[in-house]
């Protein structure tokens, strides 16, 4: 693990006798964008706060760039930019004053400040609101200011807690493309409870539920692991029930389910391709094949499956 920027080792956190995090371990490589996925209350924010040094872990160790967060918090804090869930802003200051203050407490060298400031202003699209009070900005702009705050010290590690929460669709798309553009320049850990966000931005995903890591993989790996079967969606012009019946008679078909919009979902093992056989059945019946397309399992389903599986296992 030579190039691991973040090492989280068996971290646990207890609040008033309740363990909100248990045995969380993972590493983040330099330049990677890691998605932290889980429902609300799963422990994402707590994990992130522990990495930033805002909260001390009850057990376990966290190292950032080789420095232990508990033993050497200042060295770690110099290397991270953190966007908390609610944007940390001083309403009374202008965007410029605010970012200057952040640079000061982030210990950005004086001669680099001007350059950093104009870079981040440009990058986060804050040119138009540069001189305005942060308190008077819209939600979307405030989020950008908060993002600028995290970026301004040019940190090795960026920790973004729900970076798109509370934004409208256009703003979300903007923030996501901004995050994607960080790839390679910074190592990013971002948390979200929205799946498309992960697919849109991350290299690797950690799924967390009830304070425990339930899966960790690349996007493709995660989908593949949870998809021992393939699905195709069929649309026919007529005889839908008859078609269902005939297809289910085919060897090795796992299930046939009539789905929304008059379609039929057919599931069969990953290793086979039954599309030809299915088509033949329909043509023989004269049912009028309108559509036959493979359905790729979205991560949303993966996620639902993971979390529900975990809960079912416990009960």
């Amino acid at each position: 693990m030579k190039d691991a920027l973040v090492e989280v080792q068996e971290v646990g956190k207890e609040f008033h006798g309740r363990w909100v995090l248990r045995d969380v371990s993972f590493t983040v490589k330099e330049g990677e964008i890691l998605g932290f996925l889980g429902p609300n209350g799963a422990g994402k924010t707590t994990t992130m706060r522990i990495i930033t040094g805002y909260l001390p872990p009850s057990v376990g160790r966290v190292k950032v760039a080789g420095y232990d967060v508990t033993e050497n918090p200042l060295e770690v804090k110099k290397r991270i930019g953190y966007l908390p869930e609610s944007p940390p802003i001083y309403r009374e200051l202008t965007v410029k004053e605010y970012l200057k203050f952040v640079m000061e407490i982030k210990d950005v060298p004086r001669r680099e400040r001007k350059e950093r400031l104009s870079e981040v202003i440009e990058y986060c699209g804050l040119k138009d609101v540069y001189g305005r009070l942060v308190g008077n900005l819209s939600r979307g702009y405030r989020q950008r200011v908060a993002l600028a705050q995290a970026l301004i010290s040019n940190p090795d590690l960026l920790i973004l807690d729900e970076p798109t929460s509370g934004l409208d669709a256009v703003q979300i798309a903007e923030v996501r493309s901004l995050i994607r553009s960080l790839k390679g320049k910074h190592t990013v850990i971002l948390s979200t409870h929205i799946l498309p966000e992960v697919t849109a931005t991350c290299d690797r995903v950690i799924i967390i539920s009830n304070g425990k890591i339930v899966a960790e993989d690349t996007l493709e790996g995660l989908e593949a692991r949870l998809r021992p079967s393939k699905k195709v969606e069929i649309k026919v012009a007529r005889y839908r029930d008859k078609v269902c019946e005939e297809i289910s008679k085919l060897p090795s078909v796992i299930s046939v389910v009539p789905s929304r919009n008059d379609a039929i979902l057919v599931e069969y093992p990953q290793s086979l391709d039954l599309r030809e056989d299915i088509a033949r059945v329909i043509v023989n019946l004269g049912a009028g094949l309108l559509e036959l397309k493979p359905v790729s399992m979205t991560l949303e389903e993966v996620f639902l499956q993971l979390v529900t599986e975990e809960e079912a296992g416990k009960a």
Partner: protein
Amino acid sequence: MRMILSMFRKDLKIYLLSPLAYTIVGAFLLIVGYLYINSLAYYILQVSRWGGYGFNATKFLFYPLFQNVLFLLIFLVPVLTMRTFPEEEASGTFELLLTSPITEFQIVMGKFLASYFIYLITLAILLYIPITLRKAGELDIGLLISGYVGMLLAGAAFFAAGVFAASLTRRQATASMVSFALLLLLWFINWAASNLGTDYPVLGGILWRLAIFNRVRAFSEGVIDLRNVIFFVSLTVIFLYLSVMSLASRRWK
């Protein structure tokens, strides 16, 4: 030091941009001014009746002024310090501060100095009283210096107490109540000291030494006693230290 200065500048800027500081300092100056006009009128009455001989005019006018300022600080301090930490909490900026390479000590010092600076501005404005009186006649400069030293030192301790109270809670209202109670208690320790002193001389002695009333009075009467200087400096240091501890302990809850 740089970090303290950054924190100080940021907090001072916010003080100067928000109406709160102007309102409370304005009210404070108004009340102090009103009380001063009263004692000035009383002084003029006395002089016209008995003549100005045989008593120290500076003391007559400034002793109540110094005491009033110091007593009224129990209203000024809670309002000026209540926002220090609770405001950071409310705006989510605590997370920013505590994930930046700035220490709790630097945060506390910056905030303390910013609120204290507002007090220094207030004291500077109050200089209009000796300056205008200077035109009317000779003043006892020694007494004025002593009184101002007292207001500076006791004020520092009071503001440190206010900062400490604010570090204990996440709500502005609670913070102001706690610092109000704390300052009131500091003022009234001497009652307990004199009441308990007869039956429990040891306890009475300890309370007597903790009581700020007599120490403050000494300054206002023109006596700069090194023990009193050390007392208020220590009190300031202790409250600031407790604030740092309180901030650090927050994270472990």
